[in-house]
Subunit: 138 residues, 3 copies
């Protein structure tokens, strides 16, 4: 069974999608399986992370911004792919470092997430974007 989620992002950061995904799952009859989520882009990521303290999301974004600074940063002058702006190539690098897909077991008709695990789209671009996520349940 497949569906597609369309998400709109307003700048870099983590956008929680757990409720939206769980709602779709609840409308199916699958009791045991695996849900695959796949993002059809190379400048954003999917991520499972702590959903309790919002500081975790702030810190994650801060860490990755320091690990992969904008291409106009003195440390990044070796980057060539810069024509879409200084957040262009860093977004591709972050999309290599972080997952393009997630696989979550389904048990008793529910996502087998741990207590503190939430599903996120991690946007790496500064400008607003429309993002498409394919969900496959089997």
């Amino acid at each position: 069974m497949q569906t597609r989620f369309t998400l709109t992002t307003q700048g870099a950061g983590l956008y929680e999608i757990t409720a939206q995904v769980a709602r779709w799952l609840a409308g199916t009859t699958v009791q045991e399986g695996v849900l695959t989520l796949f993002v059809r882009h190379t400048s954003c990521s999917l991520l499972i992370q702590e959903n309790a303290d919002p500081d975790v999301q702030t810190d994650l974004q801060a860490f990755f911004s320091r690990l992969v600074p904008p291409s106009d940063h003195p440390a990044m002058t070796y980057l060539r792919h810069t024509y879409e702006g200084s957040d262009d190539m860093p977004a591709h690098i972050k999309a290599a470092l972080l997952p393009v897909s997630l696989q979550i077991p389904v048990t008793d008709g529910r996502l087998a997430l741990g207590t503190w695990q939430g599903l996120y789209l991690f946007e790496h671009r500064d400008a607003p974007h429309r993002r498409e996520v394919v969900a496959h349940l089997a």
Copy 2:
């Protein structure tokens, strides 16, 4: 088919789980499929790595400790989520950088791992923890 493995960790480092997982697989009748392993936490990871030279595991841990130092390190003062200790937020960051799930094809009833590939739980917290891994075989 699903099961859950419960693991106990005694500080940060890699804990091999290949034999335990292979034993469970051997008790099933599946000849061809994919095994999904999923860890229900945001401060440890699953990893496939070299299982021959233990120095590889030591070096991996050393690299990630340097890439993501404790939050009381001068380079990490920007981190906010620190109330569970200086290994708290770094554990979340490592859990973002490393896999929360693994997918291993099963061929002729066995994991299709390469000669040097082993399955590991990578614990990022210093204190002992009880960790739960969901296995789904299909």
Copy 3:
């Protein structure tokens, strides 16, 4: 359904495998499912990345070479697993940071990749290698 692809690499870098994989998929009758690709090695990776501008691949390789320098670099003297050369342990570290497997939904008999997404083997070793990728379609 399973198959294995054997690839030959001539030094570190990204090798596109999208066409080869899509060709195999086209020879099957599966209309909807998930394709799992799994690389049976711990010193190369699989990666989904932009397939339009070759500079993206150059920049990706440059970033990871700087993030994980050779073990004879002054910053990497703590590494112990060095007997296969200065690109040995860095290859294992890159193989931890980047995917060992990919999961791509199949829709209407085709890979549900985004417009700019290509499938790559990312070789981390300098010497030529023979690499094996297991494909599972279900």
